[in-house]
């Protein structure tokens, strides 16, 4: 019995009157055999879905973030000059983009649990390795690289000849860094908003909170208070105010966001129309049902109560 648990993907033990030895050797355990259905069809399926979405997004956001330096290398003499401020690089993965994807990895559901039990065929993508395989991985990477191209070359094209309305050129390194960093955070936040299929209050809080935290920390680090304490560390003084007060910069960020996100939206919509998966159909009918049930439910309760 131990070797079969070792050979399988997961080991499940049933605790009962024959003792708890199987429980100690297993990954999951419960007390009644019928709970196996929920373990596989609800929790196992959700876990697979969450893991695949999490992985794809994680590779995407890091490729989008890092590959910008690859493109910049061609224009800075390959001197390993970073495009972003050092503190942005430190905080990007820890603070600005970690919590939204964590929330998606914990709470996401494509289909509620009752439907998962009603349609066992929904379990098939997990068995056939459909949601994260070599092809899906390369698509995630390719999307990350495409995003990095847009995030570098759109600010490059705009800022290289741009000036403020008072004539001061915008092509300095710190303006370029703040523009690219802000565009990156906004684009990956919009992408996680698209990937999240089940928006609990926690998801809302994490996504909007991360964006708000980015702008708060940005303005705090570029303020005079920190500069006066540590002039060498916080030499981006004034960049946030100067850069984000320019309409040209916001136009650049909006342009980069639409170029990155619109193809994703169009592709997903067309895929939903032309080749819907079973989970898409079940999800759609479930939501239509929920909308219809709400007014009927109230009327029903009134009739039942009276």
């Amino acid at each position: 019995c131990f070797s079969s648990s070792a050979a399988a993907h997961i080991g499940v033990g049933i605790s009962g009157q024959e003792g708890i030895q199987a429980v100690l050797a297993s990954d999951y355990s419960f007390s009644q055999f019928r709970f196996l259905q929920r373990l596989l069809l609800v929790h196992g399926r959700w876990s697979y879905l969450r893991m695949c979405r999490f992985l794809c997004y994680f590779f995407y956001k890091n490729f989008a973030f890092t590959m910008v330096h690859f493109w910049f290398g061609f224009f800075c003499g390959f001197s390993a000059q970073t495009v972003y401020d050092q503190y942005f690089i430190t905080l990007y993965n820890i603070v600005y983009t970690s919590l939204p994807v964590l929330a998606m990895g914990l709470f996401d559901q494509d289909v509620p649990e009752q439907r998962s039990l009603e349609y066992p065929k929904l379990y098939e993508p997990g068995q056939l390795n459909l949601l994260f395989n070599k092809r899906e991985f390369f698509i995630c990477i390719a999307q990350g690289i495409y995003t990095s191209v847009v995030l570098f070359f759109i600010p490059y094209g705009v800022l290289s000849h741009a000036t403020q309305s008072n004539g001061v050129p915008l092509a300095d390194y710190q303006t370029f860094a703040v523009t690219t960093a802000t565009a990156l955070v906004i684009v990956v936040s919009v992408q996680i908003a698209l990937d999240t299929g089940y928006w609990t209050a926690i998801n809302h809080f994490f996504i909007w909170g991360s964006l708000g935290t980015y702008f708060t920390i940005l303005f705090a680090m570029h303020s005079s208070i920190l500069f006066n304490i540590f002039p060498k560390q916080f030499h981006f003084l004034g960049s946030a105010h100067n850069t984000l007060g320019q309409p040209v910069v916001w136009l650049t960020i909006a342009l980069a966001t639409v170029i990155c996100i619109a193809p994703v939206l169009a592709f997903r919509f067309l895929k939903l129309d032309l080749k819907p998966q079973l989970s898409d159909t079940v999800r759609y009918t479930q939501l239509v049902l929920q909308k219809k049930q709400k007014p009927c439910g109230r009327v029903g309760r009134g009739v039942g109560g009276g």
Partner: protein, 342 residues
């Protein structure tokens, strides 16, 4: 007793632990996506047209004065010599160049964004901390000490490579030269001038004495405390040209603001006519195949001339509109074919 045991071992039945939190579950429905793409496409087209038309109204005049060709006016300045070489670039304007006119100098093939170049400065010196005057930071090497081991203030490659060509602009009226006044106030960032860079405090009432025991950067003609002896607010580290240079550029081709033309007879702009630009040619760029140029430009609400932004918005806007039409066709075809099958 059994009921108590059951109650204590029963798992939590809250919405959070049972994964039944109330949630919004969005679906990419046609009613949102297709009109959304159309609206974004039309908005981008509108913005693109506004940007493109604004950009077309901006006038720009660029002149390369490096002196590479033998027949260019500054060719004789390219051979290295110790004296300042002066050359004259003439140009003519066919129409009024609407003011206020901004005067930039531009460099190409100049990598201010090179990493080792960018870290080569002493931020403490530049905030006026005299402790670091005598002992500049190591990152300034090899621009921290001169051959006699005197400390250099301001140290580092960025300061050492400061652009030192100067320009005078004259309008030629009936054969005589009339000087065009150039205004150099406030060409740097407000935060640079007021917070980031601070001059050291004068010693015994003399600003130059604050720099005792240090030497100027090797390539500079004058020391930092002599950069502008006529205006103490433009001297030392607060010199506007110095601050403009220290704000390093992101890309190898860049322009930096030199002066504005806003005063006197030229407040409304440069009238049509002949002009002569006198260049005090000090800055050598040919050794690394760089080029120098001057640029005259006026600005609008969106800044200088920027065709890229307008064209990009027009392209993206039209692609969005096209995509929304395509998606509408696909959706209609799919929906009606589905109804036909059913």
């Amino acid at each position: 007793m059994k009921n108590e045991e059951e109650a204590s071992e029963r798992p939590d039945n809250t919405a959070f632990t049972q994964q039944q939190l109330p949630a919004w579950q969005p679906v990419l429905s046609a009613g949102i996506i297709i009109p959304g793409f159309l609206i974004i496409g039309l908005a981008f087209l509108g913005i693109g047209i506004a940007l493109f038309l604004t950009s077309q109204t901006i006038q720009v005049l660029e002149m390369d004065y490096t002196g590479v060709e033998k027949d260019s006016p500054c060719f004789r300045c390219t051979s290295p010599s110790n004296q300042t070489c002066t050359c004259e670039v003439t140009f003519s304007l066919s129409t009024l160049f609407t003011g206020p006119v901004f005067f930039y100098y531009g460099l190409s093939n100049y990598f201010q964004n090179f990493r080792k170049y960018g870290v080569s400065k002493d931020d403490y010196q530049l905030t006026g901390d005299t402790q670091y005057f005598k002992s500049p930071r190591d990152v300034c090497f090899p621009y921290a000490h001169d051959s006699k081991n005197n400390p250099i203030v301001p140290c580092g490659a960025i300061a050492s490579s400061m652009f030192n060509d100067t320009f005078e602009l004259y309008q030629i009226i009936n054969g005589t030269k009339k000087k065009v006044p150039l205004d150099g106030k406030g060409i740097s960032w407000w935060t640079d001038y007021n917070i980031k860079y601070r001059n050291p405090l004068p010693v015994n009432g003399s600003f130059a004495s604050a720099f005792d025991g240090t030497v100027k950067p090797i390539n500079w003609p004058k020391a930092a405390y002599e950069l502008d002896l006529t205006d103490p607010n433009n001297n030392g580290f607060l010199n506007q040209d110095f601050l403009v240079w220290m704000r390093r550029a992101a890309l190898p081709q860049f322009r930096k603001l030199y002066r504005r033309i806003t005063e006197g007879d030229y407040a409304t702009g440069l009238p049509a006519g002949n002009y002569s630009l006198t260049v005090y040619y000090n800055y050598p760029v040919l050794s690394f195949d760089g080029r120098k140029k001057v640029v005259f430009s006026n600005v609008s609400w969106m800044g200088g001339k920027n065709d890229f932004l307008g064209i990009a918005y027009l392209v993206v806007g039209s692609l969005c509109v096209v995509m929304s039409v395509v998606m509408l066709i696909v959706y209609a075809k799919f929906k009606f074919s589905d109804d036909d099958d059913a």
